[in-house]
Amino acid sequence: MTETELVVGIDLGTTNSEIAAYVDGQVRVLGPDPKMLPSCVGLSPAGELLVGLEARHQQVLYPERTVRSIKRKMGSAETVALGEQHFTPPEISAFILRELAGWARRELGAPVSKAVITVPAYFSDAQRNATREAGALAGLEVVRILNEPTAASLAHGFGDGRRRNVMVYDLGGGTFDVSVVTIEGDVTEVLASHGNNRLGGDDFNDLLFERLAKEFETRHHVDLRGDSVARARLWWAAEEAKKKLSFDPYVRVREENLAVAEGKPLHLDFELSREEYEWMIRPLLDSTLDSISKALDDAGKTVREIDAVVLVGGSTRTPLVVRLLQERTGREPLQDVHPDLCVALGAGVLASRLGGHEVERVLVDVSPYSFGPSHMGLRGGVPYPHCYAPIIKRNTPLPVTRTERYTTCVPHQTTVEVDLFQGDDEDALKNIPIGRFRIDGLRSTDELNEVLCRMSLDMDVILHVTAIEKETGKSKDVTIRNAFAARTEDEIAAARRRLEALWAAREADFGFEDAGGEEDGPVIDVPVAPEIIDMPLEKLPGREEAEKLLERSRALLPKIHPDDVEEAVAIHERIEAAIQARNAADLEKAAADLRELLFFLEGK
C-alpha cells in the first residue's frame, strides 16, 4: 500500500450498519444522521432498489419484496426473493455495503475502494468468506475481516501495545453475544464468545408492546393485537418508550385513535415506570449473565482477570444492563464510546492504521466529571442529609439528558432545596459544590411528594438542571456554565466561599411566594481557573508515569478494602485534576502518594 490511502471500516450488522473513516486527524462515523443504515433491502413494484429506511418503510406492504436481517443467512446456500428475482445473501449484503460506500464517497469527496469489515467472533469460515464476497460484489477490496469484539476494544483504545483482557458485552436489536478478548499490540485473540442470536432490544419491545396492549384491553375491552395497523403503531410506541426509559424514570405513552368502539375513538394514555419495565426485562437480562459465566469459563479466566468491560449495541443503554454487569463483574462498564457506533469506529481505527494513519483511539465528547444532587438518605445506617449519587456519570457521551426520581422527606413538605455537586464520592460534602436552588410552593400532601431532577449537559459544557414536581409539572431550573472548569483546591475553596455568600443572599430573596415554572432561572458563572491553559498534554512532565500508576491502581480497586478504595480514589482525583490543570508540581506529589499506596497495596 502507498503511504496513506483511504481505507474505510464497516460494521455490517444484523439490524443496522455503519461506516467509519479517518477524517481530519480522527476516526469518524460517516453519513447522514443518525449515521446508521437499517440493514434492510427491497425492490419496489417498479423495480427500483431500496436500501435502508426506505426498504423498511415498505416491509409491511411488500414483505415479499423486502429482506431484513440477511446477516443471519450469510454463509448459507439459501437465496432470498425480492419480487421475481432471487439473490444470494452476499448479494443482498453488497447492496448495503454499496450504499454505505456511497455515504463515505459523498462525505469525503473521494471514491472508496478498500475496507475493513467486521463479523461476529463466532462466524465460521464460510460466513467470513461470504462477507468477503459481499465486499467484492460491492466493488470493495476487503483488506481485513475483523472480529466485532476486537473492533470494540480498538475503539476504546486498547490497541496501544499493553496486554489486556477485555470483556465485550454486545446487546443489539436482535442478537446478543459476550466475548472475552486478549489484546496485545497488533495481536488480538478472541478467547471465547457466547450468546444468543435471537435475543435483543426487539424482545424488550415485544414485552413492552404486550404490556401496552394488555393495558388497552383492560381499559377499553378491545384487543389491539388482531388489528395489524394498531399493532404496528403500538409496537413503534413501545420502541419510543423503551428508548426514553433509558434516560427517564417514567414515560408517558400517548397514542390517539387506536381503535373505534360504538362510534367513539379510543385512545391510549398510559404512564409506565422504569422499575416496572426493568422487572419485565429482568429474566432476559439474567440469561445474558449466564452467557458471561460460560464465556469466562471457556476463556479460562476469572472476573478478576478482566481489565475492562466494554458495552456495545444500543440496548446496553438500559441502566439495568449497566447495573447488572457492574454487580457481576465488579467493574464499571465502559460506555464512553457510542454503543451503536463503537464497532464501526473500531473498524475505522484498524482501517486508518492500514491506510497509514496512526490513531490511538477515537475521539468522543464525553463528560470528564460526574454531576448530581445531594439527597437525604442512610449512610452507615444513620440518616444523612448529604448522600450523593451522580445523575450524569463521567465518561457519558455528550450531549446527554438524564432524569432521576426523588421524594420529599416528610408529608406536607412544600419546599425542596437542591444542592448540586461535581464528583463521585458518596458523601456529597467531599465533592465539589457547583450550585444550589430551591423549588417552593409544592403541593401539601399527606404522602411523600415525588420530585424529578433532570440534568442536561451539552457540548458547550453548559449544565441545565431542572426540578419538577411530578404530579403538577411545576418546575424550576438553573443553568451552570463552565461545568468542567478544572480548579485547584484553593480555587475550589474560594468558589465555595463565593457561592455560600451568593446563596445566603439568594435565601433572603426567597421570602416571597415564588411563581415558579416560567422564569428562566438564575445563571451561575462558576469561576474558571485564571491562567490560560495552553500546554499540550504531551508536554506535561510525569503525565505518562502518572497515567500508568492510575491504570495499575484502578485494576486493584475491585480487590481491595473499601477504606483503601476511598484513599486510592481520592488520589486518582488529585492526579486527574493536576493533569487537567497541567500542574506538574501537584501531579508529582499526587503520583508519589499513589506510588506509595500501590507499594503498600500490591505488597499485601
Partner: protein, 91 residues
C-alpha cells in the same frame, strides 16, 4: 360549544401557517401512490375501489422540513387480493 370549536380551529390553522412559514410542510399522501421515501406503510387494506399501491388512510401525518423528511407519514395502502405474497407478519 360551536364557538369554542371554531376558536380551536382558528388556532390550529394559525399554528399550521406558522409552521409552513418555517418550512414545515405536511406530506401529501391520501390517494397517492405509496412512496417509501416519505411514507412508512403500517398496514395493508384489500380494497377493490382504490388503485393497487395507493394510500387509503393516513394514520399519522408526516412532515417535511426544509425539503428533508422530518417525520415520515404512517399510512395504510391498498393491495389487490392475491397480489400479496406470504405475510410474514413482521413489523
Amino acid at each position: 360549544m360551536d364557538a369554542l370549536l371554531k376558536g380551536y380551529e382558528l388556532t390550529a390553522a394559525r399554528l399550521l401557517e406558522t409552521l409552513q412559514s418555517y418550512g414545515v410542510l405536511e406530506i401529501d399522501c391520501l390517494g397517492r401512490p405509496f412512496d417509501p421515501r416519505v411514507m412508512h406503510a403500517v398496514g395493508v387494506v384489500e380494497d377493490r375501489g382504490a388503485p393497487d399501491g395507493s394510500v387509503v388512510e393516513v394514520c399519522r401525518r408526516g412532515y417535511e422540513w426544509n425539503g428533508a423528511v422530518y417525520r415520515p407519514a404512517q399510512v395504510r395502502v391498498a393491495r389487490r387480493i392475491g397480489a400479496a405474497g406470504p405475510q410474514e407478519g413482521e413489523l
